[in-house]
């Protein structure tokens, strides 16, 4: 085994056999993906790929994975275990898209291949993943009940017990933050603008944000109000479906997308504001996701065009400068689905620059994945930890006391990193700090 750890075979304990019939993946066939034609295998993506950097294996690079999908589409290799492992060791961070001179949208290629493969892992893991994707995530009520159960377990001390368990369960329990007692379930659907109204916007509350990070949702509403936005929280919205798309559960993802398109278009807003980078990137792809659905393609494109990350939206609107001092040295982690997925890099830094007293020190490779990547830290703990350790070292070199990462997945991962590896930095969403500065200024 390599000194780096990580790697498809290692994660799954042993080499898969792709010879012979592919068992449960017999019906699979890779569809024609026009995007494949854009890749001329120049290799400029290689060094931007976190999994290639660790493994140095061509099959764990974007160029290699595209070649695998192409070979499978041509019927030259079957969709065996090894193929699936290579496609699923990818973090879907899309750093390769930033590097690609041809503008290949790698994410779409990988998503199409994963849609054929279905969720990753053993049959039990696949069954569990399917259950989460189709029976839990599409239903906000169930998500909240599950989170409440988790919170109760934590308060009973069961979580501490679980953390003490060896292996995967213990690690997973250690990654979870304390579940707050109150979730973001506002009684009112509309929050008025403070001061002269400048815009009417919708807010995606998000499945993880509204439960584990309910305070971030609340802070987002306050910051938007403070900037003259009337904020609508459509009641019929659901989880964005990003996890489903990334893990080959396209049918349920489409249903969730339709629900959100309907909810936000009915709200009569000019923008759908999202405070989770992964959700925003997924919603901007709704037009692509529902392109073949005659009834929904046009509305989906329309909503996709209205979606904006909260930092992107505020920068565009022209943020009112906050007055309260926040004396803190921070470094900024570019969430992959913000920097690579949505090409939003300057706006968060611009907003941080508005906060009096705040000092931003850039880290090396701020746009390199921290290893969170949706459920990746659960499905591929080894590679995830390898990347997290590198990330924490880069953070340590800045000397910053806190990390700003406007995405719940990154926040969970970095908080875990701060506990497990140090340095003991605080982890904030960007709106946390903006909110603090506005409130301190108003007080």
């Amino acid at each position: 085994m390599g000194e780096h750890g990580g790697g498809g075979a290692q994660e799954r304990g042993g080499r898969g056999a792709s010879a012979g019939p592919a068992g449960r993946r017999t019906a699979a066939a890779i569809p024609a993906i026009p995007e494949l034609d854009r890749c001329v295998h120049c290799g400029l993506c290689l060094n931007h790929c976190p999994t290639y950097r660790v493994t140095r294996l061509e099959a764990e690079s974007p160029r290699g994975r595209i070649h695998l999908v192409r070979a499978a589409a041509e019927g030259r290799i079957d969709l065996g275990e090894r193929f699936a492992e290579h496609l699923y060791l990818c973090l879907m961070c899309r750093a390769c898209e930033t590097a690609c001179p041809s503008g290949v949208q790698y994410g779409r290629i990988a998503e199409a291949a994963r849609a054929v493969l279905g969720p990753p892992g053993s049959p039990v893991a696949r069954w569990a993943a399917r259950a989460v994707f189709t029976r839990l995530l599409p239903f906000p009520g169930r998500v909240r009940r599950a989170a409440r159960l988790l919170g109760a377990a934590q308060r009973l001390g069961l979580a501490a017990l679980a953390r003490a368990l060896p292996g995967r369960v213990g690690e997973m329990a250690a990654m979870l933050p304390a579940v707050p007692r109150h979730f973001f379930t506002p009684a009112t659907e509309v929050f008025p603008a403070l001061g002269p109204a400048r815009a009417r916007v919708g807010l995606l509350t998000g499945c993880v944000m509204s439960t584990l990070f309910a305070d971030v949702d609340a802070a987002t509403v306050r910051v938007l109000q403070r900037n003259g936005c009337e904020v609508v929280v459509p009641r019929t919205q659901v989880c964005c479906g990003a996890l489903n798309v990334h893990n080959g559960e396209v049918a349920s993802a489409r249903a969730m997308a339709r629900a959100n398109v309907a909810a936000f278009l009915a709200a009569g807003v000019e923008a759908a504001v999202v405070n989770a980078a992964g959700c925003g990137a997924a919603m901007k792809e709704y037009g692509h996701l529902l392109a073949d659905d005659p009834a929904w393609a046009e509305p989906a494109r329309r909503l996709a065009g209205m979606v904006a990350d909260v930092t992107e939206f505020l920068a565009r609107l022209g943020p009112l400068p906050p007055a309260g001092r926040v004396d803190l040295t921070v470094t900024y982690q570019d969430p992959c689905h913000l920097a690579h997925g949505q090409k939003v890099r300057a706006q968060p830094r611009q907003l941080l620059g508005l906060i009096p007293g705040l000092r931003l020190v850039e880290m090396d490779g701020s746009d390199r994945c921290c290893g969170s990547a949706g459920i990746y830290n659960i499905t591929h703990p080894h590679m995830s930890r390898t990347l997290l350790r590198e990330k924490m070292q880069a953070i340590a070199r800045t000397g910053a006391r806190a990390v700003v990462a406007p995405n719940p997945g990154c926040m969970l991962q970095l908080r875990y990193g701060a506990r497990a590896y140090g340095p003991a930095v605080a982890v904030y969403h960007l709106v946390d700090l903006l909110d603090e500065s506005y409130r301190a200024g108003d007080a």
């Binding site: 390599g2 290799g43 690079s61 070649h67 030259r76 001179p101």
Partner: protein
């Protein structure tokens, strides 16, 4: 026996041979560990190509992590009597890393250590798998750089650079890889590890380092290189001149050098390339221009400023409709971005491209560019030109779709015509990409049978068995079209 004959007899599917190869895989696993010996189709298929359009499936891929592992791998391959094909990052454009006769592909991608940096001696010792740009990154903070800068420098490896004697935009001022390699650690065919050259320039005796640089993996495996570091220049000035006529742009190239300016780089892109760049990853080049010329001068501040102003005047007098001057490093990076990504960006226009690497005397540029355009018209093919104009190193990229019947044959015929035009103008068939598989059929345009035989004898001194990267460089009847056979299903378990 020729390489081809040797492998044909060896490659019989006799049970004895299969058992021997199973033994080889077992031995390789002992050397580098299970994880770094690849035989599964889903693992090896990605090594069937490099940056070129050629594909041949390897039988086994091995990724050693140290020089001693490389030596042991070479020993094992020799015992099993199979070919060895070294591979760096696989960004080559001539099929040099494509395993033409199967065998073991040795990827040096895990050898990524910079063993030593000696700034006073201005030397860095880098392993073969170190990425070109990482050498400069390691010393940039102290004001140094590694000069050869292939456009793929963010991905290509030092080992690959050495194999191909790679150039780059700044070759014009600083020379190619061979001018920056002081010594090489190599593994020879019998498994010997030795250093060629040293830490100082021009050691006495035969220049064996020079023989190895550019040998395209046919003499042995380079595992590390002692590289010359250069002091960063005090000032850099970069201009982008925009032309409505290709002829004006090529004339300006001749005039700039005639005026006694030695630009650090003098790069040209034509209208089709501009379209690709602006479609794939926009750099802000005007889409309606016929050509853009990127001029970079560097040196002490006074020189850089004067040379830049002189170059600007020559461009304007020569018919440039606009000259943009980068005001800071960010603007400079923007001007360069399109050039560095130009090859990859061609995917935005067509699924495949076939790049030529011909060199012509600078003074013949205008004429040869017109001939290339004519060849494109004659074959009904689109050609995108992006090239190192300053040293007359052309990169006409023929755009096509492999799946369209008959296209590949036409493309290869057009490519041959382009190279013949270059040679007829007093030039050569390759400037920096190497011969590989892709241009070996054209070696006899430049060399007589006696020349080629002399080269073959040099090769045999190092590699008497012809085991290293067989079927490369030397002309054989195999054509490009044959190398790119119709994709066939890959049998599971291949030959093991």
């Amino acid at each position: 026996m020729t390489d081809a004959e040797r492998t044909t007899t060896d490659r019989g599917s006799a049970e004895g041979g299969r058992a021997q190869r199973r033994g080889l895989v077992r031995r390789l696993r002992e050397i580098v560990g299970d994880r770094h010996v690849l035989t599964d189709p889903a693992d090896v298929v990605v090594y069937e190509q490099d940056g070129s359009i050629l594909q041949v499936l390897p039988e086994v891929v091995v990724l050693p992590a140290s020089t001693s592992e490389v030596a042991a791998v070479v020993g094992a391959a020799r015992e099993a009597n199979v070919p060895i094909v070294p591979r760096g990052s696989g960004t080559g454009l001539a099929g040099g890393a494509v395993p033409a006769e199967g065998g073991v592909v040795v990827s040096l991608a895990r050898m990524t250590r910079i063993r030593e940096v000696d700034l006073r001696g201005r030397i860095a010792v880098a392993e073969a798998g170190v990425i070109n740009l990482d050498v400069t990154r390691a010393v940039a903070g102290q004001g140094y750089f590694y000069a050869p800068d292939p456009s793929s420098q963010a991905a290509c490896s030092i080992g690959g650079n050495v194999a191909n004697n790679s150039g780059g935009p700044h070759t014009l001022a600083y020379g190619v890889t061979t001018n920056h390699v002081l010594g090489l650690e190599v593994v020879l065919g019998d498994g010997t590890v030795t250093w060629l050259g040293g830490r100082v320039p021009d050691p006495p005796g035969y220049d064996l380092t020079g023989v190895f640089v550019g040998s395209e993996g046919t003499l042995g495996i380079v595992t590390a290189a002692a590289l010359r570091l250069m002091r960063a220049r005090e000032a850099v000035r970069t201009l982008l001149a925009i032309f409505d006529r290709m002829d004006d742009a090529t004339d300006v190239v001749v005039q700039i050098t005639a005026a006694g300016i030695v630009p650090a780089a003098l790069e040209m892109m034509d209208r089709t390339t501009i379209e690709a760049v602006e479609t794939g990853a926009p750099a802000g080049y005007p889409r309606d221009a016929e050509a853009v010329l990127l001029v970079e001068v560097e040196g002490v501040r006074e020189y850089a400023e004067r040379a830049a102003e002189l170059a600007r005047q020559i461009c304007v007098r020569g018919g440039a409709r606009e000259v943009r001057v980068a005001r800071d490093e960010a603007e400079r990076q923007r001007l360069w971005k399109g050039r560095k990504g130009a090859f990859g960006a061609l995917g935005a226009l067509a699924p495949h491209y076939y790049v030529q690497d011909g060199v012509v005397p600078r003074s013949r540029l205008p004429q040869v560019m017109r001939e290339i355009a004519e060849i494109g018209r004659r074959y009904g093919l689109r050609i995108a030109n992006v090239f190192h104009a300053g040293d007359g190193n052309l990169h006409p990229n023929i755009l096509f779709d492999m799946r369209a019947p008959g296209q590949l044959e036409r493309v290869i015929a057009a490519g041959g015509d382009i190279l013949r035009a270059c040679v007829a103008a007093g030039g050569s068939i390759t400037g920096e990409h190497g011969i590989g598989l892709e241009k070996k059929a054209y070696m006899d345009l430049l060399f007589s049978p006696a020349d080629l035989d002399a080269m073959a004898r040099v090769r045999r001194v190092f590699d008497p068995d012809g085991r290293f990267n067989p079927a490369k460089m030397f002309p054989t009847p195999i054509t490009c079209a044959e190398m790119r056979r119709a994709p066939a299903a890959i049998p599971a378990g291949l030959w093991i």
